[in-house]
Symmetry: C2
Subunit: 346 residues, 2 copies
């Protein structure tokens, strides 16, 4: 007997078995007391009839939809795939669907996106907020993924510790003069990363920060960073707060005739998808997104399922968890070598 196609419901199963829908519901959910002998019969019949529970019916009755909303600052952000994939996986594993909302880099759109998701009845929200935004009461539990420096309860990678990983790595390689590269002095994430680098390098190397102009897709041709000038001044390593900046550094150094890492080491941050594919492959720092996502989703789910209280204006407490980052050493970072200039002047 082939499984039937058209959606059967609890009533169909109950009728087929001569029992009540309540009993079928209980047998399937394992909640109410049902005679042991009935459970397998119900299950089998449900299978045979191709029973798929109606989420709408369940949602109407329970007031829960089994869906989480994911609000991102800008889907076009290159880091987004990692986050979205991790959240989708964590949510799926917990039995939840993932509805996406895009802030398109705009606070007003972010607010609107949150409202739309709430109207759709999401049970909880994972928000990666736009810089500087605070998520207020959203009529549902919210988990925030952000920098550790953000006030309030958040889950996030430990950007500072990640920075320290880079700093320690470069110090161990013998670098004495390191140029740090960022593009936004107002970014908590960037500052955390830079602070970590500074900490780990202090006592080992001179450090200088170069704030480049904010990233623009179509910047002026020829607007270079003058890395060559810094190299001439003795810099042997460039540590960027993002793979994007690192890539820019590598390509500009190459173009200026320097070799990476023979003349200058370069490190990035985030392990974007292409960072292993360039030549030389980029040394970078990776967040454990799956862990971050799992923490965010599970705290949310605990509140949704009533196992935790929702503290602090409905924002989920995660004890401001910091998830350690890990260093991915590839070919752009190497030991300091004497430059050929110094070698030839001996």
């Amino acid at each position: 007997m082939p499984p039937q196609k058209q959606a059967a419901n609890l009533g169909d199963i109950a009728r087929a078995l001569g029992v009540s829908v309540a009993t079928v519901s209980n047998a399937l959910s394992g909640k109410g007391r049902v005679s042991a002998s009935l459970v397998p019969r119900v299950r089998e019949m449900a299978d045979r009839m191709g029973y798929v529970p109606s989420l709408a019916g369940r949602a109407l009755r329970t007031g829960r939809t089994g869906v989480l909303g994911l609000v991102l600052p800008d889907i076009a952000n290159p880091l987004f795939p990692q986050i979205a994939q991790a959240i989708e996986f964590a949510a799926g594993s917990a039995g939840y669907g993932t509805l996406i909302g895009d802030s398109r880099g705009d606070s007003a759109v972010q607010t609107e996106a949150i409202h739309r998701l709430v109207e759709r009845g999401v049970d909880g929200l994972v928000v990666v907020p736009r810089r500087g935004t605070r998520i207020s009461d959203a009529d549902c539990p919210v988990a925030v993924i952000d920098s550790p420096s953000t006030p309030g309860n958040t889950v996030s990678a430990d950007h500072r510790q990640g920075g320290a990983l880079v700093g320690a790595h470069l110090a161990a390689l013998g670098h004495r003069r390191v140029l740090l590269l960022g593009n936004n002095p107002a970014s908590a994430v960037q500052n955390d990363r830079l602070d970590g680098m500074r900490d780990a390098l202090s006592g080992h190397a001179e450090v200088e920060v170069l704030w480049i102009e904010p990233y623009e897709r179509e910047r002026e041709p020829g607007s270079l960073l003058d890395l060559a000038g810094h190299v001439a001044a003795g810099v042997t390593a460039v540590a960027a707060v993002s793979d994007l900046h690192a890539l820019r550094a590598v390509t500009e150094l190459h173009r200026a005739g320097h070799r990476v890492p023979e003349d200058v080491s370069v490190t990035g941050f985030d392990d974007l998808s292409w960072s292993g594919a360039i030549t030389p492959a980029l040394t970078t720092v990776r967040a454990d997104m799956l862990r971050i996502a799992t923490i965010a989703v599970s705290s949310l789910v605990r509140v949704i399922e009533g196992k935790d209280e929702a503290p602090d204006g409905f924002v989920v407490s995660t004890d401001a968890t910091r998830v350690p980052m890990s260093l991915v050493v590839r070919q752009t970072s190497g030991p300091v070598r004497r430059t050929s200039y110094e070698e030839t002047t001996r």
Copy 2:
């Protein structure tokens, strides 16, 4: 009077106004005949009471959820953000939410992801299928975004025309010997792009295809493409089927001591987020994702809302629409110049 907080429903409004829920429903939806004088009163009261329609109630009654599923071959794919953003926007504009599903690069997971979305009651599905997968009946309308060479009804960028754009561009710049770069001879998308390039270059330049090994995040250090060898043999332009390959070409050429584009032009494909940020900025080809998404979503919505028949086993007909791509000329592609070698040997 401040707007009330707790979710009001149709019954609350009806009670407040002394009319029936049916009337309120009709007034709000504009469907049933309601006296003109009542409509604004109902609307106003709904606003004042902070009425938010229950999607669950509506879904249970109408059998529609107002949610579309988006199934992606691999969220980690760098092209994904563009697609997801466009679909989310198009769906949102049409009044639909977007539930995501990730195939994680695995056909079995893809099938499972589709099932999960269908179980969640999505009204339709936008699928970017894994290579070689055909989406069969999914119990809901499906729009497929894929290569034009894929059998069946799909929406897609016109990859071949995009390739021709690159070819024509390089031909116009005077290149006589062009190396095409791909990594998967079985990919319909890549072959379409290459065919377009070949077409446009034929009669103008000698063309050769280099299939590099499939992209791996952590490839063997030092596995280079020997682009230098090709350059020595007279190649003045490298046209890649992806920005990723183009990036690899640029970095390897740099490292081999060639300048881009002075010695060798390089072009990519897809306009990934970083392609304007490298130095030199990457010449590439961009798909009109918003248009593609709009076509996919609107064909889906027409079927869902009963304005079109669902043809061909529930797969939405889009007349196999081909959306033209556009060339983004940046700094990696330039006119052929005599090499300094030849200049100095005169």
